[in-house]
Amino acid sequence: MTEEIIQRLQAIVEAALLAAGKPLSMDQLVALFPENDRPTRQALEHALARLEEACEGRGFELRRVASGYRLQVREEYAPWVARLFEEKPQRYTRALLETLALIAYRQPITRGEIEEIRGVTVSSNIVRTLMEREWVRVVGHRDVPGRPAMYATTRQFLDYFNLRSLDQLPPLSEVRDLEDIGREIERNMQGEIQFDAAAGDAPDQAANEPGAGTAEPDPTLH
């Protein structure tokens, strides 16, 4: 059998296995060829062995399984491949978003305090989800019976929402007017960008300054 023929058999077998996307038995592989031009099983096995070698260092490999031969994505690439099949993440519940917002605006706050405002129980699930996402952390415990944990938002929370500090969230009084929320946020961010541009190269310190987002110190504060 010439090298050329083996090479060709190998490519045909590879093509068929990839087109099938499932195991093919030796009989099925033989049946790819018309009766008057069938390679021997031995020749096919030889081609399969060659194919196996040719898959070294590649994204897939030849596997022999009960029902025949199949090409399979290499296990070492599973972490990347898995991301193809990630289901669309479900949306967070309203309860979770309310809890998150209350922690952001009223931190440090205990679960009991959140429940008091929301008027309903906060499930442990919600708190766990927020902690796992690293948007919320425990910053201490209130000195009352049960010593409940006090929650606050994290740096990651600010990063996720592209905030430099919590001050960039609209004040509660403005949350009232739904229509304005979007515009307000946009304006704040716009201001930020302009501020950044103006600041030029004095970034880190300004960035850490909690009040940086507000251009003028609020006189009512002092």
């Binding site: 898995a82 440090p108 910053v139 201490g140 209130r142 969230l169 929320i181």
Partner: protein, 280 residues
């Protein structure tokens, strides 16, 4: 072995009697290609049905007739083509086959062109008088190019015939739970809902409070969580500037007010220490 295989394949594919596929043949009758219409245009009835299906309409039939006569599409002999077309129509009608209305419309069009061409040309009235065949030629040309385009598309290598998507079996995949995306607007909408329910808007204090103060309260609390006492000065970061110092001070006062931290001064004018009231 390739050639053999390939030819066997195309032979197998060609065996399917499908009139539309025949390239040179007008039609396939009982599996045999009908290469040309008999000169006298007599068509056996069983062939006629196939023949009818072989054409995609009057334009297609006209193109066939033109090509059979080796005519240039731009130089059609309308009389001759009309004569042949009419004969065809007559045969079909004589056989009592249902003829699509479009064929009759075309017959009328041809007759009109023919008659106009027989009229003597108006001497230099409008010098731009169009050839009465022009519209027909335009339509024939237009149809022919899309007929050709259809053939070209059919020749493109396509999935399931000329190529197949490659896929491989999956290994065991790690399961991962992706995080949902949240827009700030969503969170604020949720907050608005709570606020309405809790009627927090009435609280003057809440409205005025700077969020940076609350943020700083959290920061101070978490700084105090580890040790028992921290010196008051250690809470401040002079590099933050005046505004930062003010925020820290306000946060400390608020923490004291909420009884979250305690402030201790051992002696008058001595160092001030703070600690969380409840340490982990």
């Amino acid at each position: 072995m390739t050639e053999e295989l390939a030819s066997e394949h195309s032979a197998a594919a060609g065996a399917e009697p499908e009139a539309a596929e025949a390239s040179d043949a007008v039609a396939l009758v009982a599996g045999k290609p009908l290469v040309d219409l008999p000169k006298d245009l007599y068509i056996p009835p069983d062939a006629l049905a196939v023949f009818l299906e072989a054409f995609e309409g009057p334009l297609d039939l006209l193109l066939y007739l033109i090509r059979r006569q080796n005519m240039d599409i731009l130089d059609i002999d309308v009389s001759e083509i009309t004569r042949q077309y009419m004969e065809y129509i007559e045969v079909v009608e004589a056989m009592r086959f249902e003829l699509a209305a479009e064929y009759l419309v075309m017959a009328a069009t041809l007759a009109e062109i023919k008659s106009r061409m027989l009229l003597p040309r108006q001497e230099s009235e409008d010098e731009e008088e169009l050839d009465p065949r022009a519209e027909l030629i335009r339509r024939l040309q237009q149809y022919e190019r899309f007929k050709k385009a259809a053939e070209d598309i059919d020749q493109l290598p396509r999935q399931e015939r000329d190529t197949f998507s490659g896929s491989a079996a999956l290994p065991k995949l790690p399961s991962s739970q992706p995080h949902p995306d949240v827009e700030m607007r969503e969170m604020l909408l949720a907050l608005q809902g709570v606020l309405k329910r809790a009627d927090l808007f009435t609280s003057h204090q809440v409205e005025r409070e700077k969020l940076s103060t609350r943020e700083r309260m959290s920061a101070i609390l978490s700084a105090l969580s580890g040790e028992r006492f921290v010196s008051f000065e250690a809470l401040f970061t002079p590099e933050e500037g005046r505004l930062g110092v003010v925020v820290t001070f306000l946060a400390t006062l608020e923490l004291v007010k909420e009884q979250l931290i305690e402030v201790v001064q051992a002696e008058v004018l001595g160092p001030i220490h703070v600690r969380a009231r409840a340490v982990d």
